[in-house]
């Protein structure tokens, strides 16, 4: 019952927000303000209630299942129901807290924006969909929530649709994840048919032969790779940074991208070793590649986006190595600190009026609160004690070190290297943003895709409070799992991370005005372009499909319709031939009659 409320409340908020938002806004500014305030209420209150109820579920900690109805499709039945399990409650808590923080933050970030009501309504819809995924008792219900999240991602990334680039980024986000989702759906079919039911508890308990499991889980991995932005379906995430920063924090850091990892963790017993190996290889490549790409980016949000891909690959590697609990722990801490980092980045961007690192500098005096909260976030990202990231990375590394996966060495080595590169890029971003001399130029109007122009002050309170509140778990969450702390891997990780930090710091110190990434030299461009994967896809997938589409239109017009038109012309042509029989010469007609009579007479005589 409570579970249903948790899922339905944000949905109700979304519906009310969409219907009662007085959209389109009229010319009356007072009316617009009232509509925005109403929308803010519809956004914040249901999310807060939902998060509160989730907290109560965490406290109560009893598993339960709520079934609404069973849909009989004539094939495998679909159970519409919600299930409470420990993993679900934990993830739901993360979702609830981050969603609430983002809703409150958006009130400040999108102040005065005329499309704010639909923005907050879509965020509520997204929250409801994510909670549906988390609490789903049935694979099909999970899929429904999964796809609705994809839709909300499209609607929100394309929020400032006046810019073509934002629209394209939204399409890319939706299509790349949809491609993965088709595989996901097929994986669900395989599992459902093998188990005779789509219900997750039935599927987990069913006795499914291993080859079927390998096929099913590989298909599920396609969807996971799409939603969690793993290689090769990761290209949408950096472009999705075109959306407003609050949704980058919610969707592209803490929740939707975590949904893939969540699904693997939920169905973990089903994943056989071959699939986990595939996941591990993908994760190892993604971890290091994304970290290197993050180091070379000029746009602060893109740094954080590649960082997200890298950290998600970290969790995937943990899952591949058999350390499910470590992966989930890192999921929660990453959700907290990455959301925090994005919100702080939003405050910085809001202040400076630009996303680019070389427009920032020396902000620690102008924005002290932001500086300290962002430092906490970066510390967690790098894995410095006592921040939560330190403990969760330790757990992951410990799990990888002791894993009996065939590719254990690859996973562990890649993870360790990534820790170093993570330290490097995080330090670079931190230094270039907050230290050095200020490069703020007062831009006459905001760069398209950013919310506000420079106003020289710290961010408003509605933005600072969520940042502060998120900084608490980012700092302290590690201590909840303190019983499982392992010294040796922790020290190794710390040493490697500090190496990366120190390296960048020394370089930066040498000339504070220049970008430390110049050290990559010729390697910088490939890193910045994320190893040209985008261009590869455009050449191998996008352009051929568009050319094929044009070819199909031509074929349809010339060949298929040509056959139809040709049949008409052929008929007319044929009649053109036969009409020559009617040449007006009566003697020809009589000859014809004679021939016919002769034939009939012969026929009558021969055939009797």
């Amino acid at each position: 019952m409570i579970v249903s409320l948790i899922v339905v409340l944000p949905f109700a908020g979304a519906v009310l927000g969409l219907l009662l938002s007085r959209h389109p806004h009229g010319r009356d500014p007072a009316g617009n303000l009232a509509a925005n305030k109403r929308a803010g209420l519809f956004g914040v209150v249901p999310t807060a209630l939902s998060a509160g109820l989730t907290g109560w579920l965490v406290w109560e900690n009893t598993p339960s299942t709520n079934v609404l109805t069973v849909i009989d499709t004539g094939g495998v039945a679909i159970t519409v129901g919600l299930e409470v399990a420990e993993l679900s409650v934990l993830t739901a808590m993360l979702v609830g807290v981050v969603a609430l923080a983002v809703q409150v933050y958006s009130v400040g970030y999108m102040r005065g924006e005329i499309r704010y009501p639909s923005f907050s309504a879509f965020i509520s819809l997204f929250t409801s969909a994510m909670l549906l995924v988390v609490f789903a008792a049935d694979l099909m219900v999970l899929y429904v929530g999964w796809e609705i999240m994809g839709l909300c991602s499209y609607l929100l990334v394309g929020h400032w649709w006046e810019e073509r680039a934002n629209s394209r980024a939204a399409i890319k986000a939706f299509l790349v994840t949809r491609l993965g989702d088709v595989g996901f759906l097929f994986g669900i079919f395989v599992l459902g048919f093998a188990a005779g039911s789509f219900r997750i508890s039935d599927v987990l308990a069913a006795d499914i032969p291993t080859p079927t499991l390998v096929l099913a889980t590989l298909l599920l991995l396609a969807g996971v790779a799409g939603k969690s932005a793993q290689v090769p379906l990761h290209t949408w995430l950096p472009d999705a940074m075109a959306g407003p920063t609050p949704i980058s924090a919610l969707i592209h850091a803490a929740t939707m991208v975590a949904a893939g990892i969540f699904v693997v963790a939920r169905l973990y017993v089903l994943f056989p070793q071959p699939t986990l190996d595939v996941l591990g290889v993908v994760a190892a490549i993604g971890m290091l590649g994304a970290a290197l790409a993050a180091f070379a980016q000029n746009d602060l949000k893109r740094v954080l986006a590649y960082s997200t891909i890298s950290q998600l690959a970290y969790m995937a590697a943990a899952l591949a190595g058999g350390a499910r609990d470590a992966a989930v722990f890192h999921l929660v801490t990453h959700g907290a600190f990455k959301a925090l980092l994005f919100l702080c980045a939003g405050a910085v961007i809001h202040h400076v009026g630009s996303n680019l690192l070389h427009h920032m500098g020396g902000l620690r005096r102008a924005m002290p609160v932001t500086f300290w909260t962002m430092t906490v976030g970066y510390a967690a990202l790098i894995g410095l004690p006592p921040a939560s990231g330190f403990f969760s990375k330790d757990a992951v590394l410990y799990g990888l070190e002791r894993s009996d996966s065939p590719i254990q060495l690859l996973l562990y080595g890649s993870a360790l290297l990534t820790v170093g590169v993570t330290g490097a890029y995080a330090t670079r971003a931190w230094l270039m943003t907050f230290f050095g001399t200020g490069k703020i130029q007062a831009l006459p109007e905001p760069v398209p895709g950013t919310a506000h122009v420079f106003d020289g002050r710290e961010a408003p309170a509605t933005m600072l409070w969520p940042m502060g509140i998120l900084a608490v778990p980012a700092l302290l969450l590690g201590f909840t799992d303190a019983g499982e702390f392992h010294l040796a891997p922790a020290v190794t990780a710390l040493v490697v991370a500090l190496l990366g930090v120190a390296f960048v710091y020394v370089i930066w110190r040498g000339s504070p005005e220049r970008d430390p990434a110049r050290l990559l030299g010729a390697f910088r461009d490939p890193c910045e372009q994320a190893f040209y994967v985008d261009r590869l896809y455009a050449a191998v997938l996008v352009r051929p499909v568009l050319a094929l589409a044009r070819g199909v239109v031509r074929t349809d017009d010339e060949v298929v319709d040509g056959a139809v038109r040709g049949s008409g012309r052929a008929t007319v042509g044929l009649s053109g031939l036969t009409r020559h029989l009617q040449n007006g010469n009566a003697q020809l007609y009589v000859t014809g009659v004679l021939a016919g009579v002769l034939l009939i007479a012969v026929g009558a005589v021969v055939l009797g």
Partner: protein
Amino acid sequence: MSVLLVALLVVPLLGAAALLVPGPLGRVAVRFGLTVSGAVFAVAVAAASAFDYSDAGTIQGTVDFAWIPWLGVRFHLGIDGISLPLVVLTALLTLLCLIYLAGHEPERARELVFALLVLELGMIGTFLSLDLLLFFVFFEVVLIPMYFVIAGWGGEGRRRAAYKFILYTLLGSAVLLVGLLYVWAQTGTLDMVRLAAEHPMSRSAQILAFVAIGLGLAVKTPMWPLHTWLPDAHTEAPTVGSVLLAGVLLKMGTYGFARVAIPVLPEGAAAVAPWLGALAVVGIVYGALACLAQRDLKRLIAYSSVGHMGFVLLGFATLTPVGINAALYGNVAHGLITGLLFFLVGAVKERYRTSDLDQLGSGLLGRLPYVGSLLTFACVASLGLPGLAGFWGEMLALQGAYEPAAGLSRPLFVTFMVIGGLGAVLTAAYFLVMLSRLTHGPWGGPGPSIHDATRVELTAWVPLVVLILVFGVWPSALLGLTTPAVQTLLGVP
């Protein structure tokens, strides 16, 4: 109940006949048509409430009397779980079309309303008839009024489009008639109920008959490669013509599969099903690719119909309960969604006098917020997003293809499923690209004379939006009707 079924046919007939009488009715033709179609809709709703939902698999409200005794043709009507949603859909769409016309008064209104009422008669008659020749008669009745609607009130290329439409579908109907007559010659009866229960034909006869009947229905559906009449007809037809063409006429073809081809000729269906499935998935991918490169909005939606009907045919080809459920669900969903799409595109075309994407410019969400948001909603529904009606048709069709009926090649159908899935991705691609081109992008501020959706238009569109949502989140509403009927149809206990 039988009275209601007869009333469903008599009311539009009387309404059309009343319009033939010269007099003052011509001046208030649209309002009169609105009353008549409202009455038909009320009767349809009454039939839906009088329907026994626990017994959805059996024919209800039977009307059966001899029509041409010396030929053995009977006037046999009836309704069950398969036809009920389609009848209500037809009545609803016709009513909404007339509401739309009330806001956009056409020229020669009397003739247009007459054509629409005769069209309604034909459409409802097709869904109600249970005698093969009666079915054929109603099937044909819709061709003439639709020809006139396209030729009389259409766009610039309307003559050619109308000719192509009527000649092509007439050719299909001729082949269909040959098939039906062959069935009659082989079995001696025209009664669909008896034929479905007894299956008296031999296997080779069934295959022959299925190919003939299937070809005829395939032109109407439309199935690749017999689809080329559709883009021109849809593009040149007026808004109400396109809505009814896409929303109902296409359903008549697929309904024929569900009512005539598969129940009466099961072995023929099993033999031809792989071909049907193959052509269906080709249609899905072909339609999607053709949409990607389209410049004209109405043509794009027309090709999208080819794709959606591909999913419906794939569902039929699997010959499983879940597949045929999918096909019937997809039918209703497509009727609602594409009807809404054509209404919206018609509204855009009427305001800007063009439906060419290059000329329409960008930023529709800014210029016409309600129309733009509803267009986004309709496109998202059409690409099969879960939570909206289109999802169930597509997903269940793919599910049916994963495990087709016994006797059909499983690897072949799984290949179809994969291709269909890729087609779904391409569907999403073209809709989003179209939306990006049209609704996103810079706009120069609201124009002086272009107004957003009027109250009349919203009255016509909101019921469709609500139904798309209802059938998206509550699939059992429709599945509860069709599942028993499908099980009766397939002979599954």
